[in-house]
């Protein structure tokens, strides 16, 4: 299988879906710029033209309602937010309307399968309102599906799945992932929504991670292996529906759980998985669960503060060692240097 970039994988998934379904169109701020949402919409524009890939004014609230209204009469709109933080302006439409549409009309008004892509920012001082990670607040609501592809194959696979799904799907894409590469099938292989992936097997401890934190978890697991610890890493991929079975199977096997998320802890995804284990895999747990999340303050700008604000591979690895009762370790500072310099 060839290796391609995350952004190329998103693009390929979108193009293949658009080939099969003429009802798909893509809109949002900047989708038709040469920069094409980090290249993910450029090929779709080239192939399908401005009738199916077109710019929109900054009007997050109405645009989402417009997408829903188009979906209600048979289209499959994709809207893109260059920052997921702007999507708060569309929460009414997404949560009060899209999420409930099918249910509250008793199935008689059909469904509104919109796809909402939104970018999570991080680093380079993007600051408090351009770097949040909104999966937990959206996944709280039945009726929405929320996915967070971490690897190129899932970037493509979840795009394909979202674009044939029977109800609204939110795809959260982490800014730090677009340039990462990985193997991606050329064919249109969907990643099922609601299925987590065990991306590294292990026996001592389970690390459940979301999005960019799956990379950090893998990196931590590698370092831990050198230190004699066998960590299993679960890339959760879907926040809602949550693949409880895969998570619980891993926790039952290892008896230890760390959850690493890109957002805050309180009422967040890291708490969700910790609660799940405490409710449904309690008898297997050998140690307290451990949540790893953002520091409990808004995102600061100065990089001396950013450095302590964001948890990374080191945070995860150290937590694993503590959980295993290790008193010494060969582990040094394993966080990678952050070379990101924009464009944002």
């Amino acid at each position: 299988m060839r290796n391609i970039k995350y952004s190329e994988a998103l693009s390929e998934g979108l193009v293949q879906a658009m080939e099969r379904d003429p009802g798909i169109f893509v809109t949002g701020i900047a989708v038709d710029y040469p920069s094409g949402i980090f290249g993910s919409t450029t090929e779709a524009l080239r192939r399908f033209g401005p009738k199916r890939v077109f710019d929109a004014p900054a009007m997050e609230n109405a645009l989402t309602g417009i997408a829903i209204g188009a979906a209600a009469v048979g289209k499959r709109p994709v809207i893109v937010h260059p920052r997921n933080d702007f999507m708060f302006l569309a929460y009414d439409m997404m949560i009060n309307l899209a999420a409930k549409w099918k249910y509250m009309y008793g199935g008689n008004a059909g469904s509104v399968p919109i796809v909402v892509r939104a970018v999570i920012g991080k680093g380079w001082g993007q600051g408090a309102s351009h770097s949040q990670s909104l999966q937990s607040t959206l996944a709280h609501f039945p009726g929405l599906s929320v996915v967070m592809p971490a690897f190129p194959a899932d970037a493509k696979g979840l795009t394909l799945a979202a674009l044939t799904h029977g109800s609204p799907v939110v795809i959260l894409e982490h800014r730090s992932l677009y340039d990462t590469t990985g193997p991606v099938p050329e064919e249109a292989v969907a990643t099922p929504i609601g299925k987590a992936a065990v991306i590294r097997e292990g026996t001592d401890i389970t690390i459940v991670a979301t999005s960019f934190m799956a990379y950090e978890a893998l990196h931590a697991a590698q370092a831990l292996a050198d230190d004699g610890v066998s960590a299993e890493v679960v890339d959760v991929r879907s926040i809602r529906p949550l693949d409880e079975a895969t998570i619980l199977a891993s926790v039952r096997k290892t008896g230890r759980l760390i959850v690493a998320d890109t957002s805050w802890e309180l009422c967040g995804f890291s708490s969700e998985v910790a609660a799940l284990a405490a409710e449904k895999a309690f008898e297997s747990l050998k140690a307290p669960v451990r949540r790893i999340a953002l520091a409990d303050c808004p995102a600061p700008v100065s990089h001396t503060l950013e450095k302590v604000f964001y948890p990374g591979a080191t945070t995860i690895a150290k937590a694993a060692l503590v959980m295993l009762g290790r008193r010494d370790s060969r582990l040094g500072e394993i966080d990678r240097a952050d070379h990101f310099k924009g464009p944002y």
Binding site: M59, A62, G65, G69, A71, L97, N108, A109
Partner: protein
């Protein structure tokens, strides 16, 4: 009595040249809507319908006037005060009544209640009670129609209170930039809940000017004159189908009952508007006015009107019985249609 002093100042009154069968249709449709609403309001007092309900009695002229001007494929979105539009567009009467009774035969299978009506078979896409949603929805459907090169039109009904919400202007702008086939019908009934216009609109406001500022052509019409509404809607629809983009129609009208619920304000000693004001507007009843015109034009006799009235009463009586006999949703179906 402020709302009286501003009795409609329509930009174009009815011509009086509507074809007889249409004039009759407008009347009979209003009669049916009025009867349904009044019957439901009466029954609502029994407290068996467990769903907050915004009755549209007094506002039938807008719903019927616009919907009669539509073509069958056109689609309608409406807001919390939606029964009138639902019925005027041809929505199933049983679907409405059973929905209010929370039954499986409800148009939304008892899941949605009074503010979530749908009957896609007749193009009544949906009602939604969050102010402004329906405006964006209609613009979205219009976008889809335009993409497909269809001549279909999407309609949104919304109150003047909804014009306080920003989403309305985002939608106006988008519809206008893209010249989308959407008819924006504002029912100006002077109140949002119990808030009068003064607290919500600068004095001298003309809602039509707001639409025009977004390059949308706009017309104001007497919403209690169903013929005037019908003709204005026809004009607007013709412009839309000619590719001129969105059109805005402001219809001045008045709701007779309390904001939500089946009572008259005076029954609850509500003070936000006077009984005189309400009664003055009841004098301007759109149904009666249309009936008088039929008599004046010689298109019906009083006996004929009475007969039509009996027909709608009989239909409603039968439907209420049917709705009450409809099964309750089975608890085991709680999780159907989530995804």
């Amino acid at each position: 009595m402020r709302a009286i002093s501003s009795f409609p100042d329509p930009e174009q009154p009815a011509t009086g040249r509507i074809p007889p069968e249409v004039e009759v249709g407008l009347y009979r449709n209003m009669l049916r809507v009025r009867n349904a609403e009044e019957t439901l309001a009466a029954l609502y007092r029994e407290k068996e319908m467990r769903t907050p309900t915004h009755f549209g009695v007094g506002q039938e002229g807008v719903a019927v006037g616009v919907c009669e001007a539509l073509l069958p494929g056109d689609v309608v979105y409406t807001h919390h005060r939606c029964h009138t539009h639902y019925l005027a567009k041809g929505g199933s009467l049983l679907g409405l009544v059973a929905e209010l009774y929370g039954r499986e035969d409800g148009c939304s299978r008892g899941r949605g209640g009074s503010v979530h009506l749908t009957d896609r078979s007749v193009g009544l896409m949906g009602s939604s009670p969050i102010l402004g949603q329906g405006v964006a929805l209609a613009v979205g459907s219009a976008l889809a129609f335009k993409m497909d090169g269809a001549s279909t039109v999407a309609v949104s009904f919304f109150g003047e209170g909804t014009c306080d919400e920003g989403v309305v202007y985002e939608s106006f702008n988008y519809a206008s930039v893209n010249k989308l086939p959407v008819l924006l019908v504002c029912e100006n009934n002077f109140y949002a809940t119990e808030s009068p216009l003064e607290t919500r609109q600068p004095s001298g406001t003309r809602l039509c000017d707001r639409a025009r500022a977004f390059q949308i052509s706009a017309e104001k019409v007497d919403g209690n004159d169903v013929a005037a509404v019908y003709e204005a809607a026809q004009r607007a629809l013709a412009r839309i189908r000619a590719g001129e983009g969105p059109q805005f129609l402001e219809c001045e009208t008045y709701r007779w009952l309390e904001h939500v619920g089946p009572m008259f304000d005076h029954e609850l000693a509500r003070t936000y508007r006077t009984r005189e004001e309400v009664e003055a507007w009841m004098q301007r009843c759109p149904v009666k006015r249309a009936g008088h015109r039929l008599l004046a034009r010689g298109l019906a006799t009083q006996a004929g009107l009475d007969e039509w009235r009996r027909e709608v009463v009989d239909e409603m009586t039968a439907v209420v019985a049917q709705a009450k006999a409809s099964p309750w949703p089975d608890p085991s179906t709680l999780f159907e249609n989530v995804y």
